[in-house]
């Protein structure tokens, strides 16, 4: 769905499905530089959304604000239900390499004040298929397994939405395939999943909807097919060409 020239989205809710996460005119400045300019959108339960854009477009800043790490200078982010937790998975695994997989999960479960930490640890180990590596130090795991633990920690609080910052950037193709299977299954269980990526092929292949950012503005919100149709011409049927053409047409 193309956006107005002001960069503010006009997404309408589809059907009776309520938004689980809403960003309203979110603005963020770092000194004289404006990283995000009035970004607005809504995310619905079970949606798989890719945030794409060139370097410096504001993808990580947007995810950091949605995650609550950074406070916006303008606008707001709300979740539904109001006390619904947001899971966050940073680009680089945020884990203690000297602790085991289970110890990392147990620590964050306790810090999240989860009622039964041991039960949550067991559930996450089962979900990520890491039961046999539970006692291994995280620093000795492969990059793919570290990313699985990283995601498992993001899921400990049973979030309504899970935010992933370039989750596949350090993985080999096989690990990447397993990661997307895992993320797809999460969305299938009703968790809203938002991920940023440089890999437009992953956005086309796995996302229900893409948010295109350029210079801190939200330029597009819609399905990959809608983006191709917006560009039209020679880019039809080639999402990457459509994405590049879309940005070029808007001066990015």
């Amino acid at each position: 769905m193309p956006l107005t020239s002001t960069g503010v989205s006009t997404i309408a809710q589809t059907g009776a499905q309520a938004a689980t996460l809403t960003a309203s005119s979110v603005t963020k400045r770092f000194g004289a530089r404006t990283a995000l300019k009035g970004v607005s959108f809504e995310l619905r339960a079970g949606e798989l959304i890719a945030v794409i854009g060139p370097n410096g477009a504001g993808k990580t800043t947007l995810l950091s604000i949605l995650a609550g790490i950074l406070a916006p200078d303008g606008g707001e982010v709300t979740s539904n239900p109001a006390d619904g937790r947001i899971g966050w998975v940073p680009q680089q695994p945020a884990l203690y390499s000297k602790l085991s997989v289970a110890e990392n999960l147990r620590l964050f479960a306790r810090l999240e004040r989860i009622a039964d930490p041991e039960q949550s640890v067991g559930r996450m180990l089962a979900q990520t298929g890491l039961q046999e590596r539970a006692d291994d130090e995280v620093g000795r795991l492969s990059g793919g397994n570290q990313q699985r633990v990283n995601i498992a920690i993001g899921l400990l609080c049973d979030p309504v939405a899970l935010l992933l910052d370039e989750p596949s950037s350090s993985l080999d193709p096989r690990q990447r395939e397993r990661l997307w299977e895992f993320i797809g299954a999460l969305a299938g269980r009703g968790t809203t999943v938002v991920y940023s990526t440089h890999n437009v092929a992953e956005a086309e292949r796995y996302a229900d909807r893409v948010l295109v950012l350029g210079d801190g503005e939200l330029l597009f919100s819609g399905t990959p097919l809608e983006l191709e149709q917006t560009v039209g011409g020679a880019a039809a049927g080639d999402f990457e060409a459509a994405f590049v053409g879309f940005l070029r047409d808007r001066g990015h």
Binding site: S64, A67, L70, W88, A94, S97, L99, L111
Partner: protein, 452 residues
């Protein structure tokens, strides 16, 4: 916060090399510093050749003989002599490294001293041969021998003055003297004057002899008055000055206790700074800081946890260290609760400085290096003696020392270790204020964490 503390302790337990570097290394260094400062320096080995033949070391002075050979023992207060039988043997000892120097007393030293005593002219000389290439070692030997020679000079001077005063008293008052093995009775000026005055009284008033004798009596009066004044003056010169020491304010801590306090606070500083800075920087290098502050732990609580972890570990380690050192140097165990307070408050202040450093660094290695680089100058500045620098520089050093925890921590620890020292209230207040200031700076530095 307890889960974070537990986590950090688990990480430390699994990092033996890091723990070794952070704790064992500074403690080893600190113990070496402590023992070096609290142990007296050894006596340098000096080859000693006395060329004066046996029985020839006596000089005549007035009515007495002084045996200068009996003062040789005063040469050996600060040196360890290796007695040799010739000048060549003394030089050989220096050349082959058995001795740091050779001290040679020439055969004519009694004559040289005799000449000086009798005529006031001359410069009795002993020979010192040095072979040390190390300027500090050379200065050490030089000072040791100069100090001992000074003792000999003082002892001989005192004896010479004693003889001079004794002879003057005999000239004034008379008495028995020994000369060439025989005893003689000396009349003395006072008795001579009495005899003269008696003789004048028996002569006619206008006798020319009486007039002449009155002139001799006048001279005797002047001589008695002058010599009577000279004796106490000579006596006072011959008595070395004594020092009556009174402490108005400041440290009364014994030097060895102060040395232990320095060693303990150096360790406390190293361990706390490196732990606090390193463990905070670890949150950044492991990328866990953003995850933690997403409502799991506030930045202030995270800082508190790191400060308490570092202060607790360092205080425990340095308490054990102080207890160990107390086997060698007296520390006042009745003030143990003050030891704990001094080390705990010192640890908190150093911990706050450590997290301020950790907040500026991106990696553990950078944080550790910064902590190490900061440690050395703040210890150095606090230990520079006030008398060693000029007024303006002293003010600058005082201000810098006041702004960092080393000086108040050292004051608190040295006062706590010594029973004769004042309380530790003011240093603790100072340390608490520094804790708050550095914790505030660390909190500002953490804002950079979140943005980066």
């Amino acid at each position: 916060m307890r889960w974070l503390l537990l986590k950090d302790l688990q990480i430390l337990r699994r990092s033996p090399l890091m723990v070794g570097l952070l704790i064992v290394y500074p403690i080893a260094i600190a113990l070496m510093i402590g023992f070096a400062l609290s142990s007296p320096p050894g006596k340098p080995k000096v080859a000693f050749y006395d060329a004066v033949p046996p029985g020839k070391g006596k000089i005549n002075f007035g009515s007495q003989q002084i045996n200068i050979a009996s003062y040789a023992k005063d040469l050996f207060h600060s040196i360890q002599p290796i007695r040799v039988s010739s000048r060549a043997a003394a030089i050989a000892k220096v050349q082959n490294g058995d001795a740091l120097a050779a001290l040679i007393v020439p055969a004519d030293i009694p004559e040289q001293i005799q000449g000086l005593v009798q005529t006031g002219v001359g410069n009795p000389t002993v020979q010192l041969i040095l072979n040390s290439k190390d300027p500090i070692e050379r200065q050490f030997v030089d000072q040791a021998i100069a100090s001992d020679l000074n003792k000999v000079e003082q002892a001989v001077s005192k004896q010479v003055l004693h003889v001079a005063v004794s002879d003057l008293q005999q000239v004034l008052n008379g008495g028995s003297i020994q000369f060439l093995g025989q005893s003689f009775q000396l009349l003395g000026l006072r008795d001579s004057r009495t005899i003269l005055q008696g003789s004048i009284a028996s002569l006619p008033k206008r006798s020319s002899i009486a007039v002449a004798l009155r002139q001799v009596v006048g001279f005797a009066n002047l001589a008695i008055e002058g010599l009577g004044f000279a004796s106490p003056v000579l006596g006072s010169i011959g008595t070395p000055l004594t020092v009556d020491e009174t402490q108005l304010a400041g440290q009364t801590t014994p030097a060895d206790t102060y040395a232990v306090a320095i060693a303990v606070i150096v360790s406390l500083m190293f361990v706390t700074l490196l732990l606090a800075a390193g463990m905070l920087a670890l949150e950044r290098s492991e990328h866990t800081y953003p995850r933690l502050i997403r409502g799991l732990v506030s930045p202030s609580r995270l800082l508190s946890e790191k400060v308490m972890l570092a202060a607790g570990c360092a205080a425990a380690v340095t308490l054990v260290m102080a207890a160990f050192v107390s086997a060698f140097v007296h520390l006042d165990w009745s003030r143990f609760e003050l030891w704990v307070l001094a080390l705990a408050f010192g640890g908190l202040a150093f911990g706050a400085l450590g997290v301020a450093i950790g907040g500026l660094a991106r990696e553990v290695s950078a944080a550790s290096l910064m902590a190490f680089l900061v440690s050395l100058p703040i210890a150095f500045v606090a230990l520079v003696p006030a008398s060693a620098v000029s007024g303006g520089l002293k003010t600058v050093l005082d201000v810098v020392a006041f702004a960092f925890p080393f000086k108040p921590a050292l004051e608190a620890a040295s006062n706590a270790f010594s029973g004769s020292s004042p309380g530790i209230g003011w240093p603790l207040v100072h340390l608490l204020a520094l804790t708050l200031v550095f914790a505030g700076l660390a909190r500002l530095a953490l804002n950079r964490f979140a943005r980066a």
